[in-house]
Amino acid sequence: MFAEFDLVMPGDLDEALDILAEAGGDGDAGILPLAGGTNLVVDLRARRIRADKLVGLGRIAALRGIERSNGRVTIGAGTTLSDILRDPGMVEAAPSLVDSARVFAGQMVRNTATVAGNVCCGSPAADTVPPLLSLDAEVTLAGKGGTRNVPLADFFLGYQEDERRPAELVTKIAWDAPKPKSANLFYKLARRKGDAITVVGVAVTVAVEAGKCTTARIALGAVAPVVKRAREAEALLEGEALTPELIEAAARQAAEDSSPIDDVRASADYRRHSVHALTRRLLSQAWAQVTEGG
């Protein structure tokens, strides 16, 4: 059973921000934004989180919609995982995000959970975050004082800690559509195929020009307090042709860049092993994709 709380459903963004700012300029831990609610409601029910008031975001038109223009992809904060899967352009605009949406929880959760909510839930196992990191996504935060853009790579400060202030809302997430000669992949390793919490998630981006890797992104989920990029591993790849030896070295480096824990799902040892195996596999697949016929 729930503890009691109020639910308000503001009709526009300004109203929502006013409510969030009600208890002093910095907001109040008792007033929480409610997007899809697939984490928040569970936590409220289990009394892991207390709320006096929930600010439902479902009626705010400004948070809806997916836009693509001039090579830039922008999704409103209200975009659900099912919206991602239903948009035929997404397969090109964010291949890894589509991969992650396909294995994200179950159908009912996908229908209501939002990408922005997944980003803001603070879980290192959030499935959309490695793909968004691998796409160099940027988060737009709105507050009473205005809006600001934060690269997703700088958004996470620590376990359950991020750049969003309590009285701010994420309004959109944007990234550049992948270049033509690039590959962008995601793999979720879990204890079962449907409706599972990720044990290790890996997203990679590899772009190529003249036989050399120009951009390499490796983003790792569930192996550190926050989803993070394996920057040292990425650095090994940029400017190089990706030989099996180099890929192996980068995969090993990615495993070293991770700092997993033992928990009920898996040991740290297995997680590190899997980062190595999956990074190697995804980089090999990505390189094969971008060099095929070229």
Binding site: M1, G106, L189, R191, R192, K193, G194, D195, A196, I197, V199, V264, R265, A266, S267, Y270, H273, S274, A277, L278, R281
Partner: protein, 770 residues
């Protein structure tokens, strides 16, 4: 996908057909009322407060704040209850019932497991009940506990309940084990471990109790066993005839609703308040609310000749009984009987023990010990085949038990043993082998089994049913049987319809009311169809006999020349000589022919087995079958994908092949979870996997298209030669998957569940060993 193969030449008209089950339309349309759907005016809502510690002393419990909360009707602690206990040990279970192992209804002093109930609350709303539970102030002093059955049996170990931690022991001594091993060319020894698992039925425990104008405590409850009115009455201190259990269609049982769950709490709260009380467990409550499957450690030492004949088997079994006895000694007995598998072994030695710990108590779970035994004996056969260089199925064929052979208990098997037929068909149905793809390796496995159906013969099991025909020709069946989702009730309708020559639609069935439907016994032990099906058959046959006699007189022929079908009575060789069933019934009614019959069916009654040798009869009969699976294992990540899974079972006679296939498919899914992903983890007795985000049952994404092959030997003790399928459907699945994984990667994971991590570690060890 289902394929039925019947080699019998019998003309059945209703039985054996995939008719739409009587419970299907209500479920499909959402009209079925489950126990949780019932409410009453003036009803209270209950909550159980549970211990957060596994082993502790309850120093103090103060419910004054909870009682003072507006809207709270009643808070009960052990201090408010008379000093009665709830029995957890069936009388005669071990022949030496330990009264001390009965369970306190609420903790008086000693907490023995995480989740043991401390207090009961009833309030005007669920929210108030929960708030009140939070206001109960209590102090627990942690005590040293014991969390491992091996440690529990060591001298000096903390004793869960006096006098000691051994709650069950069984032995088999058959033949000459020393001689058997001396004759062996190869001796293979392995140890296998299975885990705690959860039934994970769709419908958590729920019930509604009220006391009527005759002082009868009525309890509408989701249960497999309405006959629990007896221990419930004893626990709350009223005569047996003052508790009435009303069932409802049950949203899954699997053994988890075989013991008493919410009933005693409901009865106590209804007594204390005089008002109707509803108690509905959440999923998290359910994790603490019923016993789990026993973890087993099983060591097999098996002697083989070089041509693959078993010369001797020595099995040791250790089971974790958790904090209370419940059905542990029986589960252990089933494992003991099933230990060598469906193989002919002349020299057998089994030592089985169940020990109490401060883990969650363990009790009935589909397969009931035989499933754990199968995990071990089927892995052992594959390991032996590998060591002997003999094909896995060929090794099994050389050792299968045959009709007339004696089981480990010395009792001869009388029905058909179609283990080979089932295994061969299941394997063939796998079709072409899926090729390996890089690091993803394909493997195949098969497992066979021997699973009893019907209860232990010295429990003197009986089942009653009443069949009657109304004056308009419609048929009524009354029987206490509970339907836990497998179509138990519908099957009874098909049997009555068959014998009375009417359609299933013409039959109405009243069931699971301990006061007004004849007591049919439990829906457990794969006994429902065998026992109650026979009772309905006998009752319907009695009426049929009277109707045939009357019709024969009308037609001027002998009764043996008349048949009933398609709602008509007719002369078999002269179909033109016929009359409507309705007309025949009206005629019988007008003449006072008895149109109903109450029958008690009795299973074979025996004495107990010899406790020193395990020799004697334990079960009425056994079912045989096999599962074959193909898996793909990612050798880099350890992920397993089940590609194909085929269950082939000799069910004797399928009453409804669709219902049988439902059991086979459900067993395939449940067994897959047992093999690969499901595990309740306890740390120092504390459950660390209390929800479905940690406890992982297979989802639709995880399962292949299951295939069912139904074989019908018509050799069983059930109606029309039926055996049973409820438990058998599950039993071979996990070992078949384990064998397929071992086949794929070349090394074996000896502990269930076979997680990706264990596969990676096993491969790493194998690599290091090379």
């Amino acid at each position: 996908m289902t394929e039925t193969e019947s080699w019998a030449n019998v003309n059945l008209r209703q039985v054996g057909r995939p008719l739409a089950r009587t419970d299907a339309p209500g479920k499909a349309a959402g009209k079925t009322r489950y126990a949780g759907d019932y409410t009453m005016p003036n009803m209270l809502h209950a909550k159980v407060l549970r211990s957060p510690e596994a082993s502790a002393l309850l120093r103090r419990i103060d419910v004054s704040k909870a009682r003072a909360l507006p809207g709270v009707a009643c808070v009960l602690t052990a201090a408010d209850l008379p000093d009665r206990k709830a029995s957890t040990d069936i009388p005669g279970q071990t022949g030496k019932k330990k009264l001390a192992t009965d369970q306190q209804v609420l903790v008086k002093e000693r907490v023995r497991y995480h989740g043991e109930p401390l207090a009961l609350v009833a309030a005007e709303t669920q929210a108030i009940a929960e708030q009140a539970a939070e206001l109960i102030d209590f102090e627990l002093e942690p005590l040293p506990g014991v969390y491992d059955p091996f440690k529990a049996m060591r001298p000096g170990a903390p004793v869960v309940t006096a006098p000691d931690n051994v709650v069950g022991e069984h032995k088999v001594r058959k033949g000459d084990i020393e001689k058997g091993f001396a004759e062996a060319d190869e001796i293979i020894e392995n140890t296998f471990r299975t885990q705690f698992i959860e039934h994970a039925f769709l419908e958590p425990e729920v019930g509604l109790a009220w006391i009527d104008e005759n002082d009868v405590i009525n309890i509408r409850v989701a249960t497999q066993v309405i006959e629990h009115f007896r221990p419930i009455a004893e626990a709350v201190g009223v005569p047996h005839n003052k508790v009435r259990i009303l069932g409802a269609l049950v949203g899954g049982g699997f053994g988890g609703k075989e013991d008493v769950t919410v009933e005693i709490y409901l009865a106590l709260l209804a007594q204390a308040t005089g008002r109707p009380v509803r108690l509905a467990y959440t999923r998290e409550d359910s994790m603490f609310g019923h016993g789990k499957r026993h973890p087993f450690v099983i060591t097999h030492r098996t002697g083989f000749t070089k041509d693959g004949r078993i010369t001797a088997v020595k099995v040791t079994i250790t089971a974790d009984s958790g904090a209370y006895v419940f059905l542990s000694p029986y589960v252990l007995l089933y494992a003991t009987v099933a230990a060598p598998g469906p193989y002919r072994v002349d020299n057998v030695h089994v030592d089985a023990v169940a020990a109490a710990t401060n883990n969650m108590f363990t009790s009935a779970f589909r397969g009931f010990g035989a499933a754990q035994a199968c995990v071990a004996h089927e892995a052992q056969m594959d390991e032996a085949a590998k060591a002997l260089g003999i094909d896995r199925m060929e090794l099994r064929r050389r050792n299968f038990i045959r009709t007339g052979d004696k089981l480990v208990t010395g009792h001869p098997i009388e029905s058909a043993v179609w283990a080979d037929e089932c295994m061969t068909k299941a394997w063939e149905a796998l079709g072409e082998r899926t090729p390996d793809a890089g690091p993803v390796k394909t493997g195949r496995g098969v497992a066979t089994y021997q699973q009893s159906y019907g209860r232990i013969t010295w429990l003197h099991d009986t089942s009653e049913a009443w069949v009657g025909v109304e004056v308009d020709g419609s048929v009524v069946v009354r029987s206490g049987v509970t339907d836990i989702g497998a179509g138990q009730v519908s099957a009874l309708g098909q049997i009555a319809a068959e014998l009375l020559g009417v359609g299933l639609d013409d039959v109405t069935i009243y069931n699971s009311d301990s006061a007004v439907t004849p007591l049919a016994g439990t829906t457990t032990a794969t006994r429902g169809l065998y026992m109650t099906g026979n009772a309905v058959r006998l009752a319907a046959e009695a009426i049929r006999g009277r109707f045939l006699a009357r019709a024969a007189r009308e037609f001027g022929v002998e009764p043996g020349e008349v048949d009933l079908a398609e709602s008509k009575a007719f002369v078999t060789d002269r179909p033109d000589k016929s009359m409507a069933f309705k007309a025949l019934v009206a005629l019988c009614a007008s003449e006072g022919v008895h149109r109903s019959e109450l029958v008690m069916f009795r299973a074979p009654f025996t004495g107990q087995i010899d406790p020193e040798t395990g020799q004697g009869r334990v079960h009425p009969d056994y079912a045989y079958g096999a599962q074959a699976v193909e898996v793909a294992v990612d050798t880099e990540t350890g992920e397993v994908t089940v590609l194909k899974s085929v269950g082939a079972h000799d069910v004797g006679q399928a009453i409804n092949p669709d219902a049988v296939a439902g059991q086979i498919e459900g067993g395939a899914a449940m067994g897959q979870g047992y093999a690969l992903s499901e595990e309740l983890c306890y740390e120092e007795g504390r459950l660390t996997t209390p929800s479905f985000s940690e406890y992982l049952i297979p989802t639709a994404m995880d399962v292949p298209r299951y295939q069912s092959i139904i074989l019908e030997s018509r050799s069983g003790l059930g109606p029309f030669g039926a055996k049973g399928i409820g438990e058998p459907a599950l039993t071979p699945v996990a070992p078949a998957i384990a064998n397929a994984v071992a086949d794929a990667i070349g090394v074996r994971v000896f502990d269930l569940p076979i997680t990706p991590e264990k596969i990676v570690m096993a491969l790493r060890r194998a690599e290091a060993a090379e």
